[in-house]
Amino acid sequence: MASRPGDSVDLLAAGLGPRAVRDQFAREVSDDAILVRAAQEGDRAAFGRLYERYARMVHGVLLAKVPVSAVDDLLQDVFLRALRRLSTLRESGSFGAWLVTIARNLANDYHRRALPEEPLADDVPDNHLPENDFGRGDHRAGGRTAEHAASAAAILDAIRSLPDAYRETLILRLVEGLTGPEIAARTGLTPGSVRVNLHRGMEQLRAKLRPPASGGQLEQEML
């Protein structure tokens, strides 16, 4: 496969053998290419498969940039825009990176439209989280009490205050549950970049969650 300069270094930095990452990347790109071509020829089931594969990634990218309450609508917008423009995608193996670009653009458009700019930090009131999130009523791991919901919202805000690269990668890992190799394969980032973003982002998040003196409320609730 064609490779870019520096990939081998990135792979080593990622702590994975080149074959493991390359195999996963090759499989995903190959599968994507098949699905994209089918979708370009009018196969909506194929587009549905792409949606299933990439919805969490797009959701995470949006969640890093816009209020929780706006994410689901924008998620639909991203895929609708992708569906309309699919015929313009020349490199079907680059679907993931292309989708990320659409998501980031729509998130930026959202902020341009929102005047005055809507702050991210207060979009999740302590006792009123969106229906598809904490407010659904199912009591899965982690508890769904108002206190936990408030903690979760505060942690999400802390992640969103990190630099762009870190916040997006951390949300994809911690919120959407994607692994580092999956993030790399789907966003088009190198594995090394993802690993660095995760590591440094986590360090910065820990620093933000750690109280200046001893045991702030957030850390106490979390740990």
Binding site: S3, V29, Q76, E91, L174, E176, L198
Partner: protein
Amino acid sequence: MDTTNNKTDNEPLKNSNDYLWDGSGVPDPEIQKLEALLGGFRHDRPAPLFPEFVPSKRWTFFPWRVRLFAVLSATAAVLFAIAAIIFLTHGTKPSPVAMAGWDVSRMAGTPRIGSTTVRANELPSRLGVGQVLETDDQSRASLRSEGIGQIEMEPSSRLRLLTMGNSLKRIALDRGTIHAFIWAPPGQFVVDTPSAMTVDLGCAYTLQVDDSGSGLVRTSLGWVGFKLNGHESFIPAGAACATRPKVGPGTPYFEDASPEFRTALARFDFEDRTPQQPAADLAIVLAQSRERDALTLWHLLARVDDAQRALVYDRLSQLAPPPAGVTREGILRLDQPMLDVWWNALGFDDIAVWRHWERSWSATNGPERMSGTSAPADK
């Protein structure tokens, strides 16, 4: 944090990083807690059903934007119908320039598309499907397609554009030399030559075809697949492979192999006609082979008779021990999955890419072009 090199002290950090990276290793309680808390924000809605297949649920799952999409689609369909009527009524044909194709630029001399000369200081000419690009002994040309790649065409070459489909871009090199740098997804770019079909698997390579139709591919990046009538060869970077009309691809070899190795291999592939000569040449190839020549020996497994196959197996096992699950018995009976596993263990590239391409090609071009996928050209 303790930064000494104490292995025990550092182990939790390593495990923590592994868990953060891919969920492996000892779970980090802090990260697990974050995952549990933040998991509530995770997207977990099922995929919407797309309109064409479940019309009754169309408006349930999609907002007004999809209705707008449907309206736009209907409008586009009407416009298309009008255009089709106009086209049929007036009997006009689309200009080749407007059709899908490659942009051609002159590099030297006077390359020609059909009878039209590609001139300097002009916008690139377009090579459309069905058209021929030729260079004389003084001319060179460059072809470029944004979605596929770039090709440089040497003097005295003749190239035809066969298809420009979404999933297959195909040209024919009748004679001459091209240097291709392809960025289309693996398997999409195919070059027909008189003696083999060259399948790009993500690479840069040079392909030569002489007047007799014999060919040679030399790969400089990635890998290439060569195929004809059931013979197939995989050529990774640094390797080369010849083809002959009516025979197909020979056995690939690394270009830094010894001259004796290469000469014997060429005779084995294309010249040996007496019963004894193949065995003699094979003995030279096996004796001269180095570790990286496992590339050649792996291909030979499927190109020799049963007795010779045991010899090739033994030598290949010395150079590159078979991985777990690959047995001598399986290889001697040419068990394809075992052959594939062994190929992958050689470290060149993942043969699954090729197998996937084979299935796609077979599905769209008919099984008669794909008979015998393991090159059973016994001597």
